[in-house]
Amino acid sequence: MMRYWKIISITIISIFAIGAFYIQSALAEKNSFPDYTITTKSGDEEAVKRLMLQGTYYGEGEQGQGVTIQKNEVAYSNNNSLLELINPNYIDPKIKRLQKEYRSFMRGKENNIAPFYENEKLLVYADVDLGSMINDSDFTFDIEVLEKESDETEAFELDVPEKNKYAYIYVEAVQMAEGELKVITRQSVKRLNQNEFHVYRFDVSTQKLISDDLIASYQEENDIGWSYTDLISSSNTSGEENKYIAFVKTILEDVQGEDGEVYSEEVAKELVTYNLESKQMKSTELPDEINGESHNAVLIGTMIYFGQESEAGGELIAYNIESEEIDSSQTIDQLLKGENNGLLMKVHEGKMYVANYFSDRKTPGGIAIIELDTGEKLYEGFVNVENPKTVPPGYELILNEIMVQE
C-alpha cells in the first residue's frame, strides 16, 4: 500500500480539509456580519413587518457586503456567489410576487414594475420593445393582458407611430380602465436635444391604437436658459385609474458670473399636470415650501406627496392638484439628521416609509412610517446592531433602497 501514498495522501488531506471547512461553515452561524435589528420607539410593530431595507454593510477595512434587513431577519448577500445570481435579492418584491402567482405570464419580463398594471381582475403588461441588434429603432408596443380568473392572455404587438424618429422609448406608467389602455412614455428624439412624454391609448378588444398625445417635452432650451421636466411617479393601490399625470418642471436661466463664465441658475419650479380625461394641461408654480424633488414624490388620486429634507430632519407635504394648495405637512423631525445623513423614502400602499441612508456606531439609523391620508405617524424606530461590542468600531451601514414585501 505504501507505493500508493501519493493518491491516498492527497485524497485524504483533500477530503479532510475541504470537508471540515464546509461542514464547519454549514454548522456555524450564517456569517460573521452583525445582526441588525429594527427596534421600535413608538407605534405598531405590525407596520414594519413587511419592511425590507436594502443596503451595504462595511466592516472595518472590509469590502462592502450587500445586506437586507427585516424586522426579524438579516440576510447578507454575497456578490460573488453563483446562488445569488439564481435567486437575486434585488428583484422588486412586487415582481417577485407576480412571478410567483403568474409564472408563465411573467416569463421573459424584466425586473421593472413600470410597464405593469394590476387590478383585481386583470394583470396588464405594456412595454416598448427596443428592437433587435440589427435595427435599433424598430420600436414596437408589446401588450399582454391577463384575465386572472380565466387565466387567458390576450397579446398583441403594434408599431410605435413614427418609430424611426426616436432614439429610445421608456414606458413610465400603464393604466387601464374600461377596456382602454393608457401607456405613458418618455422618449428622446434622434439627433435633436429633445425629449418627450406621450400618452398612447389603446382599445384592447380591437387591438388598435386610438391616439398618441404628446403631453410634454422635458428638456427645452430657449434664449435665456433651459428647463427640464421630471415625471412624478403615481401609485394606484386601489386599482383605480389616476386622473392626472404630474411633472415637475425646473426652469434654469443663464447667468453671467463675475469671472465671465456662464452658468445656469435655477429660477423656478413648476408643477405641470395633465388631465387624462379632458386632455387638459395646466402649469402652476409650486409653493416655496416644496422643493420639488420629484424622486421622492408620489401622486395618488389628486394628491401629490412630496417627501423632502428639512431643518428638523424631514417632512412630508401633501399638495392637492385641484385646489392647488398644500393640504397638510407632517414633519419627520425625530429622525436623526447628521452629516451626510440624508433620507430615503418610499411610498407603498398609502404609506410613506422613511429611513436614514447612513448609520454607524455614533449615528443610529432612524425609520418612520406615515399614513399619507391622515399624516399620522404610524411607526418610529431605529436600525441597530444588536450587539455592537462584536462589531469592528469603524463599521458603517449605507442603505440604498426601501422595499415592502407583498
Partner: protein, 277 residues
Amino acid sequence: MNRFLKLVNFELGRFMKIYLALIGITIISQIAGVIIKSNSYVERANEAIYEDLIPKEDFFATEGLMSMLHVLRSVWFMGPIALCIAALIFYVFFIWYRDWFGKNTFIYRLLMLPTARIQIFLSKAVSILLMVFGLVAIQLILLPIESVILKWIVPLDYRIDMTVGEIIQNFRELQMLIPSTFIEFVLYYGAGMMAVFIIFTAILFERSFRLKGILFGAIFVGLAVLVFFSPILIMEIMQTYYLYPIEIFILEIILGLVVIGASIWTSHFLLKKKITV
C-alpha cells in the same frame, strides 16, 4: 488497487516533485508573509504611538487594525497561489505532451496497456483534479495556522481576529477558489473539470491529426463553448430573457454535463481510432 487508480497514482507521481515544491513555496512564502507583515505593522504602530505620540485611536483610524486581510493583499500570499495556478494550467498541456516528446516515448507504453484507453484520459483528468483539491486543502489548513502566527506577533488591541470563513468571505480572489457553500464548490470545480476535459480533447485532436488537428481542436473548443453558453447567447442576441434564472441554471448544468459527455466520447473515439504515436 485497480488499474485505474494505479494509473492515477502513477500520473501523480510524475508531477510529485514539482507539486511538493509548489506546496513548499506556498507554505514558506505565506508564513513568511504573515511574519513580515505582522512585524512591520507592530513596528509602525509602536513608532507612531510611542515615539511620534500619535493617539492610538488616530493611528488605527488611518491605518486600520491589523488582520489577515493585510497579509492576503500582499504578494507573499497571492504570489504562490498565482504560481500554483499557472503551474497547473501549464501541466494540463504538459501532462499529455510529455508522453510524446523526448527520447523516451512513454505514449507507446500507455497506449499498449491492457486497459481501455479512455482510462488514460480519465486518469490524467482525475490527477489534475486531485492536485487542485490538494492545493485548496493545503490553503485551508494554512489559513488557521497563519492566523495563530499573527496572533502571536500582534497584540490583542492592535488586531481583528477572523475565522477562516471570515477571511475568505472578505477576499474576493480567495472566494473564487473557495466559495462559501459546498454546492458552489461542486459547481465551480465541475466547470473547471469541464474546461480541462475540453482542452484534453483539443490536445488529442492535435495529437491525432497534427497540423490539421489544431484546427479541429479549435473547432471543438469553439463548439463546446458555444453549446455551453447557448442559452445565454441566444437570449442576448434575441434580447428576450425568456427563461427564469433558475431555469437557466438547471439548463447550464445539463449542458455542462452534455459537453463533458461529448468531450469524453470524442476523446474515447480519438484514442481508439485516430491517435498516432
